[in-house]
Each structure stands twice: as structure tokens, then as C-alpha cells.
Symmetry: none
Subunit: 98 residues, 2 copies
């Protein structure tokens, strides 16, 4: 899901934390931040420190991806000659799961 603002980060962090049954205190310990900081980041604090935010995402096993002109999509793609039409392969599999 797209992330544009600090509030977006807050909502997703809260959602991920709850879906894992973690308490703010537990998340705080796992991410090496204060419990109050978790309160604030979940509220969308715009001036929170980048490094802490990233540690928090890591503690929740969340990952970030960047897109845009000049940003490589993937680190390394395979040989194009080995490319397959994924959709047709899947269709074939569904017709005959062998």
C-alpha cells in the first residue's frame, strides 16, 4: 500500500502491531525506542527520526519499496530469453494441475 505522509506510517504501524498481537511496550522494546515514541509515531508525528521509523518497520517485519524514474525495479532480473508468460503458465496449470 502507498505511503505518502507520516500519518500513513502511523496507521500502518498500528495496524501491523495489532495484527501481531503486540503491545506498544513490546514493540518499543523490539525497536529500541521509548513507549511514548510509539504512541507519537502511531499518531503520525511528522518530525520523528527516520532511523527509528525504519527500525520499527523492521521490528514489525514490514518492508518498504521505492518507485520512480531513476530507481531500479529489481536488483537483478534473469536472462530475458528465459522469460515465460506467467499468466498463460498459470492458466495452463489451473486447467491441468498435473
Amino acid at each position: 500500500m502507498r505511503v505518502r505522509t507520516p500519518v500513513d506510517f502511523g496507521l500502518m504501524i498500528r495496524q501491523a502491531r495489532r495484527s501481531r498481537g503486540m503491545t506498544q511496550q513490546q514493540l518499543a522494546r523490539a525497536a529500541l525506542v521509548g513507549r511514548q515514541w510509539v504512541v507519537e509515531i502511531e499518531a503520525g508525528k511528522p518530525r520523528a527520526e527516520l532511523g527509528m521509523v525504519l527500525r520499527t518497520l523492521a521490528a514489525l517485519d514490514l518492508s518498504l519499496t521505492m518507485h520512480g524514474e531513476g530507481i531500479p525495479e529489481l536488483r537483478r532480473s534473469g536472462d530475458p530469453s528465459e522469460a515465460v508468460d506467467l499468466q498463460s503458465v498459470l492458466d495452463a496449470h489451473r486447467r491441468n494441475p498435473s
Copy 2:
């Protein structure tokens, strides 16, 4: 491309800025930050403020996406009962492309 650390942010911001032929000064003005701040973020400053980072990405027309348990995808996924093991399907296809 995956982003894990402040240094990753720095590298991508720099790369995107250059690919757009922008100067640090221009980017700073567009993102409403100081020029020195751009120097620091491109060097991977871990304690940079989240909001400024996001403004900078916006100024460069870069977008962030979050992935992980509990984070809704843009597209709804299908019925889990229809899930297939993509890797094994592909392996089978490569062994016998029919």
C-alpha cells in the same frame, strides 16, 4: 527497489535528483528544506525528520509502498483456496514447457 536503511534513502534520493538534472539547491527549494539538509540526507543521516524525507520524495516524484502482514495490498487477492505454489508451477513449466 527495497529500502531498509537511511543510507538507502540517501542513495536513491541522490540518484533520482541527478536523473532529473536537479541541483541540491533546487531540490531543497522544492522540498522546503535547507540545502545542507539535502547534503546530509544524501549521506544517509539516520536522524533526519520523517516529514522532510517524505516531502523530498514527493518533490522528486518518488513513491513508497509498504508490504507485510496486516498491510492491505492495492489489489484484493483472490480466494486463498485457489492459491498455487508459484515456484513449483514455474519449475514444472521449465522442466516441461508443454
